[in-house]
Amino acid sequence: MTQTVIDDLKKSQILELLEQGKRVDGRALDEPRRLTVEINAIPKANGSARVRLGDTEAICGVKIQPDRPFPDMGDKGIFICTAELLPLSHPSVETGPPGPDVIELARVVDRGVRESHMVDVSQLVIQENKSVVGVFADIVVVDYDGNLFDACSYAATAAILNSKLPKWEMQDDIPSLVDGAETALPTTTIPVSITMAKIGNHIVVDPNSDEWASMDSRITITTDSDGNIVALQKGGKDGFTLDEIVKCGELSVKVGAQIRETLKRTGEDGQ
């Protein structure tokens, strides 16, 4: 989108406030917006969560079903995470095949969860080389107020934490559902992505839509429960210094730990 006069004015105002250490909505620079998580919003799915991060809202539904393994990956189940920006989420969203922004969103969210090894795919084998369990975490954005990376990531993580894994056994070479043998989906860690925007020389955590439109560059860093950094994506039209990157890494660990507590609590409530 072309920068409009209004956007330019807004950016000046945001920058001016940042010079004084303030943000448009009163948050501290390292303060994410309020996160609310409603689990099991889609009861017919195997797991689901409806997440509101400020005024950005995303829903993730997890479907678990038998699938063929990928070639050379016969000893592992499948985990795939997708993301879609629904046209009701913002007036500028168009229907049709996803553009590069949405493809990047989906892939970054997917990598964050995947690289953390959250879902233990080695436990998702029905019969080696023949039939495995596929876990599909599909996320849709229903309201947009910036920072989709984190809202979608939290929706996926919360939905996975609360997913039930059905049991299948091979019968006549076909996976057959074993009734009443559901368990929790095996997970190993809780990945948390923290997105930071650079506006001028300031780094802010969890940018809202006005900050998103004003930023020079952004970085999304995902950490796991052990405080390791497991995935990262830089974006935007400017760069970062080495010091800024290191600082963002530290912020992602610190703020990530707070968010992780919130997500962990939904898992405990849910199970």
């Binding site: 009861p43 539904g61 046209p87 599909d138 107020d145």
Partner: protein
Amino acid sequence: MGGRESTMVLLDENGIRCDGRKIDEPRRILIKAGGLKNADGSAYIEFGENKILVGVYGPRDVHPKHMSNTDTGILRVRYHMEPFSVGERKNPAPSRREIEISKVIKEALLPAVILENFPRTAVDVFIEVLQADGGTRCAALSAASVALADAGIPMRDMVAACASGKAADTIILDVNNEEDQAGQADMPIGYMPTLEKITLLQLDGVLNPEEFKKCVETGIHGCEIVYDLQKKALNEKYFKNGGDK
């Protein structure tokens, strides 16, 4: 009708259906006007286990321009199911079924909305099926009417919708998923109760002419129940809570 034989008892000796309802009883219905921040109007409906979100934008400019009409505003409707909304994960690409339902719902809303005063513009209705359980098009249409009203689009009447059908040789109201799969007929109806006009009508199944008439009448009865809940939802948003959006 899927044509799958089933051993399920759709109607027991006491006239009670497989989900405990009477033959003329709709499923649990919850309608909420508003809810989305960015959309000009929105609504949420739970109709049995269906969960559907509708957002409306407009009247607004049309891109590309050659799709606009210099005499009147146009209505565009997209009915869309989330991958996780159905039993087996749905492929994200729009299906032919979704395209047809989008068109049928659009033509069910057209008699209600007044777009003549908004030439060159479009009103966009985006329907998102979060969870499906039989009868999504009726639930979607009912929610879309509320979302259009919430967006302040002038309307002649609201369209309320409910399906009727036939199972165990009996005309029933509000066909659920099991009854749709194993039953004998499913007839979704959209109706403007004040104007007494049927704006959506489809039928899959087999009905003799008397059953046909009874089925339409039964569906209209259901629409009237839904209509009251639609008005209540708007009331709650605009009057009970002091009119803030």
